[in-house]
Point group: C2
Chain length 191, copies 2
């Protein structure tokens, strides 16, 4: 998606260790016009998949998933990372390791919000190792919900997550695919 | 706001201890049409305040703040609750105690995203004791940003947060004001 690639080139920064930072428009501050355009783009790609629910993971996925949901006209369900007093009922749970945060956490959704009647679009901000994505797919499988597609804002194509799930047969659509992060420069996969 | 009150009556549940649970449409699963209507309602109330930025707190505030931002056409900034490897720069920080989660945590925004040029609308899902709100106002004060208004989805009017900040002179607008939660029944303040 040209608009997102251009924004990454314009406002993204690369920290030491080749970490891409997109906090000014994507995961600390959010540009609503950009997100709505991304939501429309996800809709254009997945509109024929009869989506009944969008599943994402707190925190950074929520804004993008919500923008998409305004076009699909279906609920967003966000998996939670921490126990809270009001999430006391039966849950589907999975484990996810975050390489950025260097820890493993549980992700959970309440069972009554995901069922074998659901055709799910999974949306997340980043795809690199595919850890979070694996957890979200696991939640769907536990509920016997069908994963109809996977929409990602930024895929680090030099890491294995995206291809792993494409090879498993999933329709993984990434709006910006980064081929390499080197010497403070972002190069995108030619699409 | 009638639409939100009706939804709370229809789909909200009251857990033992008179905890209101709105997970099916507000803070675990999100109804995008409802949120867009809430965003429009916040816009109608605060549209003359020359808002330059919407500030909220992860996690549950993000969807509502984003919906509002699509009408105001300004960025959403969400304060973060946990340190991450990509939030390494200078931050404004404050402390917030969550009575629901029974813990105190730090909230942070990067300094470069909040300045003395900003006219801020603070948006959050719940207002009860006013702890989270106090932290968000503190962040604005540290940045010398002006708090132009406070938009809340659900205020528990029987707790002191709302009136505390109204008495301090803030324009606190709550879309649903709960007068009491008793015997599994929600009663709203007559508006």
């Amino acid at each position: 998606m040209k608009l997102l690639e251009e924004r990454i080139l314009q406002d993204g920064r690369i920290l030491p260790g080749n970490i891409l930072k997109v906090d000014s428009f994507l995961n600390h501050q959010i540009d609503p016009d950009l997100f709505m355009a991304m939501g429309q783009d996800f809709y254009d790609h997945f509109k024929d998949k009869e989506i009944t629910k969008i599943l994402t993971l707190e925190v950074s996925g929520i804004g993008i998933a919500f923008a998409a949901a305004t076009y699909f006209k279906v609920p967003v369900l966000f998996a939670k990372k921490s126990l809270s007093l009001t999430l006391t009922e039966d849950v589907y749970a999975s484990k996810v390791t975050s390489y950025t945060k260097k820890k493993t956490f549980d992700i959970r959704v309440q069972k009554n919000f995901l069922s074998d009647q659901d055709k799910v679009l999974i949306i997340d901000d980043f795809l690199a190792m595919g850890e979070a994505l694996g957890g979200l797919i696991d939640l769907c499988q536990q509920a016997n919900a069908q994963v109809q597609g996977i929409g990602i804002a930024i895929e680090k194509s030099f890491q294995p997550g995206g291809n792993k799930y494409r090879e498993l047969g999933y329709d993984v659509y990434s709006q910006a695919m980064i081929e390499k992060l080197e010497d403070g420069k972002v190069t995108f996969v030619k699409q």
